[in-house]
Symmetry: C2
């Protein structure tokens, strides 16, 4: 590839609406252009990177025994009604009417359509296991599309769906997919982690996410120093608390005239924050409830929504609080409410003695509170975020890093097949509902995530496997001296013959502008061919991640590049 | 690839709604499954074929110097309003509202979006010429989707758009694309023709179509035996008529009481049909008009719509006919109408003397009619279909064949760039509107067209380049004898090492069922490995297009397959 024949178009300006580094750099490098909110054109440069990711994903899916097929982007409403997701998916689902007023959606994922395909295609257990995948444009009508292709509305995704007779077959394929994903992200050259996600209906290991590690990541990931334990914040657990101490204090009411937060109360009383308990008033599907976490802890809303009896919760209004607790916010607590209420305590709270809570009376808190003596034992559920430095269940220490979710594997079980009536005849000739796994990778998102992880002030730093070209041979003054051009062309061919994806920058830019472009677009290896170098028998080589260029003779250069 | 690990699923039934051979065979072979009207799932088998076409298209586009990029499938209304196509495209354009009530369409083609990209990307003539292409899912909301993927609503298309400063650059790239298309269809192994289509605003050669020749084709293609002249029916022209003879007869009114067609009048008068003239009464944007073709000729509606003054025409109502001609249908003619009318005659009619037309009086025709004497000279325009056997302009004879349109190249000129204000600075630093070409290939349609051209009673007959696998090694009783399986595996690897896309049918089917599958799915080369054959040192080989199998030793087999 000669760059004079390629459409490369970098810019210096940084658009004002680009908040994220990867978004800014992709625009400056000319990889993407905005067509409308959340809709991006992939330029020739951007598409080269996207295709490299796509190819590695495809190769590893094939190697893992999955078979590629393709489902239409538009899918009929009936299928989505059958699973209830036409409504459940909410406004992210782009709904479309055709000229005959038939309703369709632009597929954001394809469980329904693939299950319908399986229903038509699979009739016997002998056809199982099978894992169908596609690389397909998807659409999610994000309420606030942003961050460029990191959260675009139209995006490229690899989605795979496996079908099984027995749950153990599903577990086996799930492990197979985890191994394939690990190979994919390893080959891409990215620092990544597989973390436990929200555990599903089937078992402990039913859902895991793959994250690219990056400081700018939206998700907090929790690791243990004691093992390979890793989970996202919604799924992360700390060690069980120590046994509850015996009560040592008597219950007493303390005056806290203006102290409405745990911090203020602890300050006034001169005690540690972790001796206080935060009370969160909720309205749930089953009525009013009080959720308790330690004063120094934060509630996790996903965990809260999954705790028994707290489904569909929202914060209670002041009127609801007054009705059930007889108090105003700032002084709430689980002791002596106006009406009988449900109390759900985090395990750490359930293990406390002699703690401080609101007194359900404006201007007062209770100290020396003890379970079983001053109030009934509560229901216990893990409803909080773990924190950096806590003890892990494996005895190690919990660490927190930021990640960008780029893959997700999930044991779905039989719910889709049940809703869509997808069965096969089993070994005994009886109809059996199919068990199903699904496995997604956000291909376009990986491009942005890789940049978030790998960049510097000058631009992108691609891992070799994702780079638009692994090496670019830069020609100084290509029109001035045919010797330089000929030597560069010869070198290009030698590098390509060695299996490298190499290009020639023969655009005739000034060296400074040419080098700046190559750094901005993240070329891992740059070779400069100049008249002066040729005279000395050397080429200038620079790795994108090195601070200095080095002068190499041809043999050394080839050894360095071809290994 | 081992077919036991692949999802192959053929069926014997022919669905009742599949009218076309390719549709039936693709369903029976299990290449596609219907998800909804005009929406098809591509199974693993179908996708293999689709990807082979896609790869050849991509390779030849790259070789021709076009650069690949990708445009979103959804495009904002504003762009389509700017060119007027939001309305003009009609109901084929699938219109979509997002959650914020913003309007989009699902792209049926991408002139607007690519011109917007060019407007953002191209600022100088130095960046030209450039040819951007994409392989992308498109959508056309056909009123009656049918014929499977031949006329699906969602389909895969390669669309390319070139940008130029000067028209001669456009012409050069247009020729470059024609050459690339010729290479593509040649490599695909299809019998095809490039034909002249409707000539555009720029010049004579401004639009050409590529057709796969097939008896079931929807389009009539016209060829000359005298040169490589070829055109579709809308663009085809015959030789100019001979000079008009001098009048020999006097004008006379003849009684034709019940004769309302040219055939009936010619029969009654005992004259040749080509002595009569058909009068077609039209309402146009500019009022009433009469179009004249010879009695043995048919009007071509596309030509009629393009004739000067006949834009927006429709057949006149009986009331309109009575008002302008003073007569009822069946007896119409251009002589002595009730009101002054416009008359447009086909060149063949304009060259007639002593002809017969309706008398504008019920029950009567006029014979011996002559131009200039009995009625004013008419406007002349080619408004008819040519017919098989006519003389061509090159002196040859016109032949007609049926074709399926699979490619279209078009010199668009500057209209899109004008509407969207896409300019670059020219050599003199002045803003110049971009000139543009567009080049489409219907990738999914090619798959169906290839089957229309290449099939027999047993199924599909793929050209090697499009086949899901070029060769399949069929194992007789794979579980019974490990020697057979081992020999087949070894042969498979040898064929793959030789560069063939080969698969192993190790599904363990009975030979008859296995061979029927391989014929149905159109595998070009079949090799059978059996215990008996191994004992004799031979393999059974059969070409899909041969009527008999042959017994070959290994060397002969390899020579035959690897050449």
């Amino acid at each position: 590839m000669r760059l004079s024949q390629f459409h490369l178009h970098t810019t210096k300006e940084t658009p004002s609406d680009a908040e994220l580094t990867s978004h800014r750099l992709m625009l400056r490098a000319g990889m993407i252009r905005k067509l409308a909110s959340g809709l991006y054109i992939w330029s020739p440069l951007g598409l080269r990177v996207l295709r490299k990711v796509e190819r590695i994903v495809r190769e590893e899916m094939d190697r893992a025994g999955a078979v590629e097929m393709q489902i239409p982007t538009l899918q009929p409403r009936e299928l989505w009604d059958a699973t209830g997701r036409w409504e459940k998916f909410g406004n992210q689902l782009l709904k479309i009417k055709d000229r005959k007023e038939q309703e369709f959606c632009y597929s954001p994922t394809a469980e329904e359509a693939i299950t319908e395909f399986a229903r038509q295609e699979l009739s016997s257990y002998k056809q199982l296991p099978v894992n169908f995948y596609q690389v397909q444009t998807k659409f999610r009508d994000e309420i606030r599309p942003r961050f460029g292709v990191m959260r675009a509305r139209e995006f490229l995704m690899k989605d795979a769906y496996s079908f099984h007779l027995h749950d153990e077959d599903l577990v086996r394929e799930y492990e197979n997919m985890k191994a394939a994903y690990t190979r994919i992200f390893t080959r891409l050259g990215l620092e990544f982690r597989m973390v436990q996600a929200d555990s599903g209906a089937i078992g402990g290991d039913a859902s895991q996410e793959f994250h690219v590690i990056a400081d700018s990541g939206e998700d907090a990931l929790v690791f243990s120093t004691g093992s390979d334990y890793a989970a996202n914040m919604e799924a992360a657990v700390a060690a069980e608390p120590s046994a509850r101490p015996l009560p040592a204090e008597t219950l007493r009411k303390v005056e806290t005239p203006t102290q409405k937060t745990c911090e203020a109360v602890a300050g006034l009383l001169g005690i540690e924050l972790q001796r206080t308990v935060k009370s969160i008033a909720l309205m749930t599907d089953a009525g009013f409830a009080l959720a308790l976490v330690r004063g120094d802890h934060d509630v996790n809303e996903i965990k809260l929504a999954k705790a028994p009896g707290l489904a569909g919760n929202r914060f209670a209004s002041e009127a609801e609080i007054v009705e059930h607790l007889g108090s105003v916010p700032g002084f709430l607590g689980p002791v002596g409410p106006a009406k009988a209420i449900r109390v759900v305590a985090d395990p750490e709270v359930a293990a406390m003695a002699d703690f401080v809570v609101g007194a359900n009376e404006a201007g007062f808190h209770l100290a020396g509170v003890n379970w079983g003596r001053d109030l009934p034992e509560a229901e216990v559920a893990d409803i909080r975020n773990v924190r950096e430095g806590e003890r892990a269940r494996d005895g190690g220490e919990l660490k927190i890093a930021r990640g960008i979710e780029v893959g997700h594997v999930f044991q779905l079980g039989r719910s889709y097949a049940q809703a869509l009536n997808a069965t096969v005849l089993d070994e005994n000739g009886k109809a059996a509902t199919l068990s199903m796994g699904c496995y997604g990778i956000g291909i376009s998102r990986i491009v942005a995530a890789a940049i978030e992880q790998n960049h510097d002030d000058a631009g992108i730093i691609w891992p070799d496997a994702m780079a638009p070209w692994q090496v670019v041979v830069c020609v100084i003054n290509p029109k001035g001296d045919t010797g330089v051009s000929a030597a560069a062309s010869e070198l290009l061919e030698a590098l390509r013959a060695g299996g490298l994806d190499a290009a020639l920058d023969d655009r005739g830019l000034r060296p400074g502008a040419m080098f700046a472009d190559m750094e901005l677009i993240g070329i891992p290896h740059r070779v400069v061919v100049s008249e002066r170098g040729l005279a000395a028998g050397t080429f200038e080589y620079r790795s994108r991640s090195a601070s200095e260029a080095e002068s190499l003779d041809r043999d050394s250069l080839m050894r360095k590049l071809l290994g």
